[in-house]
Symmetry: C2
DNA sequence: GTATTATTGCAACTTATTCGCAATAAAATA
DNA sequence: TATTTTATTGCGAATAAGTTGCAATAATAC
């Protein structure tokens, strides 16, 4: 299951790298110069997730958003679960540099976290 | 827009009251004794949300789950944003008594929070 | 008892995501 | 460089969750 380099893969990765925000499939499709099939975009994104290059956020609208896994200070470091902010006005999602800290009852084991705050961002308020 | 009491409404409310967990539409439909149309269940649930009787959680699977708004200690008190736990093993969601606390950058305004941890609950681990 | 209108069921629709399959094209190999 | 292998792509169809329009029904008010 070796990964191959394709124009599609590169285009999507570049877009995500240059975006400060998490993007949905349709946003990616809209912003791309080249035309890429819907299903392909999903497959590329899911592969990125498997490889730990990208993380997925599911928002209140039930849609999936994808963002590059990096910490501003130290891009190498493994990504920590963190909060996200979804602006209802400009309909974007961005990573907040706030780690999710939540103690769970005994015997519970946390594997993942999906935390999204919604409201209005600075640009829109 | 006055609300009316109907068998449907009561059945759904009773189910939610007696459940320690947040339920999805299909779970509700399955657990109900009487047969209620899918669309109707959604409409009843959304009305409950409007009335502040129930709150909605969107999980990583993109599905909506509904839970009674109450605090164990003080059922009267207005509900605070809190974390939820979704067990991947028994596919249930429950409210954790842990408030969501997350400071956002200047100029950001938070209206709502949707925070779900996933993993294995005590019963399943 | 009658009138008003909130609620329901049904069917159709929308939207997001996935899947099967054949065609294409990276990368490995000869 | 030519050939082989198989990951990737595009297409169309399928799935699944949730919503909506509309006519019929049934709470509630009068």
């Amino acid at each position: 299951m070796n990964r191959r380099n394709t124009p599609t893969k590169e285009a999507v990765l570049n877009l995500l790298m240059n975006s400060r925000k998490a993007l949905s499939q349709d946003a990616i499709e809209r912003q791309l110069d080249i035309e890429i099939n819907r299903a392909t975009i999903y497959r590329v994104l899911n592969r990125f997730c498997e490889d730990g290059i990208v993380h997925k956020i599911v928002a209140e609208d039930g849609k999936q958003y994808f963002a590059i896994c990096k910490k501003c200070e130290n891009p190498q470091e493994v990504i920590q679960p963190h909060f996200h902010f979804r602006c209802l006005s400009c309909d974007t999602i961005e990573c907040l540099q706030v780690p999710v800290e939540c103690s769970v009852p005994n015997g519970y084991e946390v594997q993942n976290a999906n935390c999204v705050l919604t409201g209005t961002c600075n640009d829109c308020s």
